[in-house]
């Protein structure tokens, strides 16, 4: 609770006035000579207990009335939801989740979660007279924004919606570090978010540090303003893969896309999905009968003269417009360059054969072999597929590979040939090589694998890959977190894993295509399919086509790129990488989209949230978009009512007893 006119509280000692008056009155009791003392003493004795209670009650009510009047005059403010423990700090840090999921809009009010949070914060600051110093954090990659005292959050360009995931742990850490480095005193931190798990990254190693910092900074109070409601219908669309196939007379664009229900009830419905490429538009009716519908290989006929381009796929309007559109870029099959990093001649020989054998005449392939000795000159600019059969990289090389994946590249990791090289502390994309072990080839076969998607999926004709015919003699164990297992052995050990990456693909195969390890090379079919499919996925990043996540790495000359979709042109150039759009620069195309995690409706539940910010002064405030209640409001009316109530109650308690008066003894006119 804070006060707009706190100096009025200097009068608080006045609450002692009723006590002083009472004590004075004790001395100024009107004396009266009385004969019937016998009756009076008896009555007083009978009423002693009740009289004492009444006496203290009356005195309390008088104190309360004076105190309420003083509080009323000081114009108190309370934060919403009847929480009287409110904002009294002179500095307020606002951490704002500007991710696409925060654009969930209440159809009645037409206000998004982000807009609602900003409006309420603005109203709170305005009610407080904009006296607090406000610092805004919206992205860990950007410095904090000192909000001018006369400005509203809603008017700042930094508070506008973006397609970048919020990275809440990084933002909270950034805010706490700011408090520490600036030596700020009592600070109120408001973190506004929809608690989407993708933004909160509950597995982040930053949370323990955050908790420790909050405990160490008792003067910092963290308030989570959450908008976790997901009741209105909302669907998100996403393109997984594009492939342009050209013939002499026509061209066809093959699209793999999915539509996911992110909020609302699961009611079967038909959604018109619009695919727009240049001037041409295709509308396809998609029946959304489950949580997610995937359409692979949807064919869009395009002009045969088009060799590359960009387009959008769009859903009809729903609760969140930010995930209704997805941009994609495509180009004709370009020379597919693959790079093999290996010191093992046997392995590299097999892999080279597999990569150099193209499935299509239209797609020329090239393959280069690099030993680990020459990694310093590693160049991944035009590479589509990187096959890494060496110890997991560290340092600069690791960063280079991550950037390669972020630009749409595909990586297939094989374990190092020798055990000593395999075992190490380095990890990439949540995977780590452990020990090699010899296994019985008869018992060690793969029975279960993903046949619907990824590298081991069935052929387009429906034929199943002979994965179960593979035999294994040596397998390298893995330490894995956050990866998807595509095929596993009967004992649960992984054979093929896919690491989580917003753009690009990363696979880990746990054995080698050598006679000593497996029949991958002898069998051939499975390994060939795996490598060719990895090449196909990598093709999105070659041929001048890039697909990146909003807020991610963009080409160095991005400022010169021209936007080709019909989106908002008012976005300044510096902010463009944060907004979904399609761009073109000569023959190169770039599609920027929200991350895949933004389409995942998983939320951080209340219990997890409490555990994440446990310790220190924290609280969680659950708000709703449609709620009109403010975060802060003047509560002088409460004190006015309380004062009136106290005075009325006091008057009631001190009123003469009418019941008694009605029973008064009458002397009558005649003395009988």
């Amino acid at each position: 609770m804070m006060f707009l006119q706190p100096w009025t509280l200097l009068g608080l000692p006045l609450v002692l006035l009723p006590i002083a008056i009472h004590l004075l009155n004790q001395r100024r009791h009107r004396p009266i000579d009385w004969g019937a003392m016998h009756f009076l003493r008896q009555a007083s004795r009978m009423h002693q207990g009740a009289a004492r209670i009444r006496y203290w009650l009356v005195l309390f009510l008088r104190l309360l009335a004076v105190a309420c009047v003083l509080f009323f005059m000081s114009r108190p403010l309370a934060t919403g939801w009847l929480s009287l423990v409110g904002n009294s700090a002179s500095r307020v840090i606002v951490i704002l989740d500007c991710s696409p999921s925060m654009e969930m809009t209440d159809t009645l009010h037409g206000r998004s979660k982000r807009a609602s949070a900003i409006a309420k914060l603005d109203a709170m600051f305005e009610a407080q007279g904009n006296r607090s110093e406000r610092i805004l954090f919206v992205s860990p990659d950007q410095p904090p924004v000192i909000v001018p005292s006369d400005a509203k959050l809603a008017d700042l360009p930094e508070t506008q919606s973006t397609d970048v995931s919020a990275k809440i742990p990084e933002l909270v850490t950034q805010a706490l570090r700011y408090i520490q480095t600036e030596g700020l005193g009592p600070t109120e931190v408001w973190c506004c978010s929809d608690l989407q798990a993708n933004d909160w990254d509950t597995q982040s190693g930053l949370w323990p540090t955050i908790r420790e910092t909050l405990v160490a900074f008792p003067f910092v109070r963290l308030t989570m303003l959450s908008y976790a409601e997901r009741e209105q219908f909302n669907a998100a669309v996403r393109v997984q893969r594009t492939a342009l196939k050209r013939t002499d007379r026509s061209s066809e664009l093959f699209l793999d896309f999915s539509v996911r229900l992110t909020s609302g009830n699961l009611v079967p419905r038909v959604l018109p999905v619009t695919i727009q490429i240049g001037e041409s538009r295709v509308v396809v009716e998609l029946e959304l009968s489950g949580r997610e519908v995937v359409r692979n290989g949807f064919v869009v006929p395009i002009d045969s003269s088009i060799e590359s381009g960009a387009g959008t796929i769009e859903l009809p309007s729903d609760a969140n417009a930010a995930d209704n559109t997805f941009h994609f870029a495509f180009s004709k099959p370009a020379t597919m360059r693959s790079l093999i990093v290996s010191d093992d001649e046997k392995v590299s020989k097999v892999l080279q054969i597999m990569t150099k054998t193209s499935m299509s005449k239209q797609q020329p392939v090239e393959c280069e072999l690099v030993s680990t000795q020459k990694l310093a000159s590693l160049k991944l600019d035009d590479v589509g597929l990187l096959i890494w059969q060496a110890p997991l990289p560290e340092g600069t090389i690791a960063d280079q590979i991550k950037q390669f994946v972020a630009m749409g590249g595909a990586v297939l990791f094989f374990p190092p040939s020798t055990e000593s090289k395999a075992k190490g502390n380095s990890a990439m994309f949540g995977m780590r090589w452990l020990d090699w072990s010899d296994v019985d080839s008869h018992d060690y076969s793969i029975q279960r694998w993903r046949k619907d998607t990824d590298l081991l999926r069935n052929a387009e004709s429906g034929e199943v890959l002979p994965v179960d015919e593979l035999q294994f003699r040596r397998v390298c164990a893995t330490g894995e977190t956050g990866v998807t297992v595509l095929a596993s052995f009967p004992n649960g050990a992984s054979f093929l894993c896919k690491a989580a990456a917003d753009v690009g693909t990363v696979y880990f195969c746990c054995t080698l295509p050598t006679t000593e390890c497996s029949t991958l090379a002898d069998n051939g079919v499975v390994l060939y399919a795996m490598i060719q499919r990895a090449l196909a996925e990598a093709s999105t990043s070659v041929g001048g086509v890039h697909t990146v996540v909003a807020g991610g790495v963009v080409p160095a000359d991005f400022e010169t790129w021209v936007r080709v979709d019909l989106g908002d042109e008012t976005i300044v150039v510096a902010d463009r990488p944060q907004h979904a759009a399609a761009y073109r620069s000569g023959k190169r195309w770039l599609a920027i989209n929200r991350s895949a995690g933004e389409d995942d409706p998983t939320e951080v539940d209340e219990k997890t949230l409490q555990s994440l910010i446990a310790g220190g002064s924290t609280r969680v405030v659950n708000d709703q978009i449609e709620s009109d209640g403010g975060l802060t409001r003047e509560i002088w009316r409460w004190f006015a009512f309380a004062a009136v109530f106290a005075l009325l109650a006091e008057a009631f308690l001190t009123l003469p007893n009418k019941m008694g008066a009605s029973k008064a003894f009458s002397m009558g006119g005649s003395p009988r």
């Binding site: 009266i32 009756f39 009076l40 009978m46 009423h47 009740a50 007893n657 019941m659 008064a664």
Partner: protein, 314 residues
């Protein structure tokens, strides 16, 4: 020249001048008077015949009866005697209570005695009735209940005695506790013959003790009259704010909020009045409650009229 006495109101005297004080019971006086006696006497009013017994005065034989029936009967007549009237006036401190005109309990009677203490009104009642009694030849006495300075004047007739009695009344001052029951016990023992005992008091005493003393008096065949001087304020506690009640009988003062204790107070007073009513009813006492708003002339006049009526009916 006789000193004017403040408690004797000429208006009251004038109103009582044409009335008589009658006893409700047969009295045993010392001289002939206007009151009936349990003895047979020489009045004109026939009482009864009874058989002659040796020793009877032969002058009272009814010779006509003897002539007709040859039996000796004595013809008896009612005896009229004077009245021995004794006032028991409460002179305790509580009798100094003076009705508070600010309390708003004045019922509009212009002739009330607001501003006079209860003791003053007690003196008025006793003085006026004493004057009337002496005027009609009755003997009057006085006993004032006072813990240290109680006075007892035995009943006598005559103007000089009346003067003595009024002088004594004039000197009475209210103070201290009330020892009325003890006084009444003593009075019961001291009055040799049946008489009229008039008690003028606020009766702020233990009702058990009072009841026993009244029973004592009744046992001695005295006719009892009580003028209960109690004020409406004392019954209803009509004060709207906390007050400091100073005990007129010298006890500790008490701070009390009448608003708070009113219910209990009235319940206690109600019980007290009920118990008193039961006592006076049981002992056939002529009970009169007199408030500060009552006109004493009316009070006494109605009292005398009621007693005269009861005599006619007897």
């Amino acid at each position: 020249m006789t000193k004017p006495r403040s408690f004797l109101d000429p208006k009251i005297i004038a109103k009582l001048a044409h009335q008589t004080l009658e006893s409700r019971r047969a009295m045993i006086g010392s001289v002939s008077g206007r009151h009936s006696s349990p003895m047979r006497g020489s009045s004109l009013e026939f009482a009864q015949y009874r058989k002659y017994v040796p020793g009877d005065d032969t002058r009272r034989l009814d010779w006509r009866v003897w002539g007709r029936s040859d039996r000796s009967y004595i013809k008896e007549f009612e005896a009229d005697t004077n009245l021995r009237m004794c006032f028991a006036v409460d002179a305790s401190g509580s009798m100094n209570y003076c009705a508070n005109s600010e309390s708003g309990l004045n019922n509009g009677n212009a002739e009330n005695h607001l501003g006079h203490s209860k003791l003053h009104r007690a003196k008025s009642i006793a003085g006026s009735l004493a004057w009337l009694a002496v005027k009609q030849g009755d003997a009057v006495g006085l006993s004032t209940s006072h813990p240290t300075n109680g006075k007892d004047i035995p009943p006598r007739r005559g103007a000089r005695h009346l003067k003595l009695l009024l002088d004594q009344l004039d000197l009475v001052k209210g103070e201290g506790d009330c020892d009325l029951p003890a006084r009444l016990h003593a009075l019961a023992e001291r009055i040799p013959r049946r008489g009229l005992v008039v008690i003028v008091s606020d009766l702020f005493v233990d009702l058990e003790e009072l009841s026993r003393s009244l029973e004592h008096l009744r046992h001695r065949k005295h006719d009892l009259v009580i003028f209960h001087l109690i004020d409406a304020e004392e019954l209803n506690l009509p004060f709207g704010q906390s007050m400091k009640f100073v005990d007129l009988e010298g006890g500790l003062s008490l701070l009390a909020d009448p608003v708070v204790i009113l219910n209990n107070y009235q319940r206690i007073v109600g019980d007290y009045l009920s118990q008193l009513k039961e006592t006076v009813s049981k002992l056939e006492i002529d009970y009169r409650r007199v408030g500060s708003d009552h006109d004493l002339a009316d009070v006494l006049s109605s009292f005398l009229a009621a007693r005269a009526g009861s005599r006619k009916r007897r």
